[in-house]
Symmetry: C2
Subunit: 148 residues, 2 copies
Amino acid sequence: MGSHWEDSLRSHGHRLTPQRRAVLRVLCDAGGHCTLAEIQERLRNRFPEIPLPTVYRNLRCLVDAGLAAQTDLGSGAHVYEFVADKHHHHLVCLRCQHVIDLPDAFLDPLRETLKQQFHFVPCMEHFALFGICPSCSGEPRPAEKGTA
Amino acid sequence: MGSHWEDSLRSHGHRLTPQRRAVLRVLCDAGGHCTLAEIQERLRNRFPEIPLPTVYRNLRCLVDAGLAAQTDLGSGAHVYEFVADKHHHHLVCLRCQHVIDLPDAFLDPLRETLKQQFHFVPCMEHFALFGICPSCSGEPRPAEKGTA
DNA sequence: TTGGATGCAAAGATTTTGCAGTTTT
DNA sequence: AAAACTGCAAAATCTTTGCATCCAA
């Protein structure tokens, strides 16, 4: 049935497999940052021997579908995070006033940098960034495959 | 003599070697992002066969001394950038009003993410972030909560 | 049926460390 | 002289791809 995330996956040409559902579930339940290996570990209940490449490829699909965000916090391995569309910020175009939603997870690298380098804990609850949107900059839209 | 960057290095326990000066020079002249391999390449004039580990360790020293910033733009390899103290932003403490300078380079990962994921080109000339500074976060004061 | 997904295996790419000899301070 | 750095070599990590088989749509 058309859950929001199911539609997101399908509209990007991805299928719904048990492994993929499980990865998303794990990411969602974790509620924070997870490395590839951590996700694999948390998956052991349902898929005791799931290979890392499978987790890896599923994460790519989730990121592609906008359900997960991949970032580098300087720990040597990338971390993944569930992208809920609850908390979000705004990218405001200076020319056409168009507003793009920016999921909160995309601010994590900056958060982490400030914490590690400056020991500064930013409050970024209400965040707005101004700039030029894709339409106004004349740049080609990002390649969206399978979009009706 | 005592250039600002020389002091920065020495005060962090690092020494000034020809290779280190050259790495900093390259990074400075490049004026943008460089991977480890790119820096090695640009170093070929003065050090035709400089090993990657040497470049790597020098970069770590420069980052440690605050002269360079390391970031991950999603290309698979980290990129390094000279940190000039000309353009900078402000981290403002919500409790004590203390202001910390944030070199512009630290916003690069966010810039790149917005460009790649949203095709949005942010204008972050005058940037201020509010939060809690290290001094204040060490002394938690429940009575006064930072209001965003 | 068709194209994507899984699992297994291996390769790629990048980062990181060890160590002996050398250089800066 | 002491501590840090270089250069060479190799290892440790993490990411990515190939391919035969299997499954979702």
